[in-house]
Symmetry: C2
């Protein structure tokens, strides 16, 4: 395959569902576009990349994804500007991270041009599905799963790489309260926490259900050893503002290297907003809350964008956070979405044109 001239064939649907979608009332990640990108790994290489009508996948019951959770994904978005231009945001970061996840999960890495050309061809094909309502976008889900067969607990010999898209509204409906976890854990030292591995998410569902039952939306995960330091929220990295300093935990083998997270750090640095990337103890958070230095907390992620946290819970007590007039959350949300939707200068070349 000549990588420099990779052309992705497109088989168009004859049964578009576009007219049936209510774009004024979009849920998150439930509506699919007309097409998907698909590529298969077999006989030792990724082959036959193509865009096809969105369709069901047929798998043998012994496909390893069903048994060993050998699956990874990425989350991205496409944005349409007021002139109809279509943009992605730092897609090469997702491409790189997908392969970082692939390596840790013993999944064959995807060549960069298959990822990038597949992505662009799909978004171009389905560009009419990109919402133009404020706060909505086309959520893009690249994922790879083990489609090879067998009950032996070892890596599969076949994999399927799909990119699917979903016009989506907000990830969270309403205020976001988080509970700082004291019992359960998301990731082990030396584990797969830094990868976007499927199993990282399944393991969070039950503890999150317990938090939801107590009136929270998400769990803030802590180290599994002593639950002493805050790490991430599973669907978001976590930022804390103490005084005027913006803090976030360093990435590690337990914490995802979020694209929104590092974009915020870069913007803050350029604006001379003081940042500290270091371990944040629960104790420090509680003390800052008590003495009034804790100004705000927010989560960051592609799906969640920047989500202000209205309260946090710890050891059965709920702590409300102040409602700031000029919050860092609102500031960075505006700065990032202005770049994403082509409403502002793009000093770091993060915007990536599709058409």
């Amino acid at each position: 395959m000549d990588l420099s001239t990779l052309q992705i064939p497109v088989q168009k649907t004859t049964d578009s569902q576009l007219a049936n979608v209510d774009f004024s009332n979009l849920p998150f990640g439930k509506v699919n576009t007309d097409h998907m990108f698909i590529c298969t790994f077999k006989d030792g290489s990724w082959q036959d990349p193509k865009v096809v009508p969105y369709q069901a996948i047929s798998l043998d019951p012994s496909a390893k994804v069903f048994h060993y959770g050998q699956t990874i994904f990425e989350g991205m978005k496409a944005y349409k500007d007021s002139k109809g231009g279509v943009w992605l945001f730092r897609p090469e970061e997702n491409q790189k991270r997908l392969n970082i996840s692939a390596k840790r999960l013993a999944i064959p890495e995807v060549p960069k041009d298959i990822f990038m050309e597949g992505l662009k061809t799909l978004v171009e094909t389905d560009h009419e599905w990109i919402p133009r309502t404020e706060g909505s976008s086309l959520y893009i889900r690249p994922f790879i799963f083990a489609s090879g067969r067998g009950f032996h607990a070892s890596p599969a010999d076949e994999y399927t790489f799909i990119i699917a898209c979903s016009p989506s509204g907000s990830y969270f409906a309403g205020k976001v309260g988080v509970r700082i976890e004291e019992t359960y854990s998301r990731a082990a030292n030396g584990g797969v926490g830094y990868a976007k591995a499927g199993g990282n998410y399944a393991g969070q569902f039950y503890p999150t259900q317990l938090a939801v039952a107590d009136g929270y939306q998400q769990v803030i995960w802590t180290d599994d050893n002593a639950h002493e330091y805050i790490e991430e929220a599973g669907a978001m990295n976590i930022f804390v503002r103490i005084g005027d300093t913006l803090l976030t935990s360093p990435t590690s083998d337990r914490i995802l290297d979020g694209v929104t997270r590092k974009s915020i750090l870069k913007l803050a640095e350029a604006e001379n907003i003081p940042t500290e990337v270091r371990k944040i103890s629960v104790q420090e958070l509680l003390e800052a809350q008590k003495n009034g230095a804790l100004k705000e907390m927010f989560g960051s992620g592609t799906a969640a964008v920047i989500s202000p946290i209205s309260s946090f819970g710890y050891k059965g007590q709920r702590y409300e956070l102040p409602q700031l007039e000029e919050s860092y959350a609102a500031h960075f949300k505006k700065r990032i979405t202005d770049i994403q939707y082509n409403r502002a200068e793009d000093p770091f070349d993060w915007r990536y044109p599709v058409k």
Copy 2:
């Protein structure tokens, strides 16, 4: 559904593959029988349990198993005795553990009679597939995965429970060398290590590949905090014999409660073989190896049965284990398989008749 009289309908295949299988040369987990059991969770309940011809599964690309690894499984075997009697081994332990896994992975628990009647009906239907060659058996794989749709990182609203079977030979071909892990980890405190969750296995593949590249077959996982204590081998629990004492690590939220493991402990207790269920440090293992007290190590599990370990590696050095004339591994393997194949008394009622 009246649980006491649950009848599982059977739709028989018209295209049996039985005659095409070479039973004298069976791999592990690659050949499927003619039928499978399937049951679906939707609208809040498990429904429509049935045995059908083995067939492909069709899923929407947004099915949550592909994205969030929300999947669990069990491993069991069926045995045929010399008179044609068909037996399972402690199947209710697997039924209970499947639901323990389900709870932790936010998957709806399966009613006991659906599991047991589905299992028995399937094994009866495919009983001609049970190998009669020594060392072979019918491997049985119950598994549940999230078939509900959506890219939101939350539990699915639909699940599929399948039981599939595979006539299988040995899990390991040849000697089993293990490497004691110093870098990677299998499970976190407060994580899902005690569950048979898919993601636990995918996370082991890469470190296991590294061990295989160095000439080992499996990794012995250690605590993620300091890699100080041995835990389990991912596909097996681990036993160590020091002097005449048989040691194994206690189960915890990081270690699977293996059915073979607890059967060995019960048999050892009944025979007055001294056992200790306690944390085993790598240091203790090395010292016992050095002073000659380390007599043997073996793994236990449904797939692996009892697998003697011939050597272990640690910090780049390989330690050979003695070849005992009268090993505990050989002793317990004979005792357990004699019960499984109905060649000996069954003092604890572990054998479970199918037909």
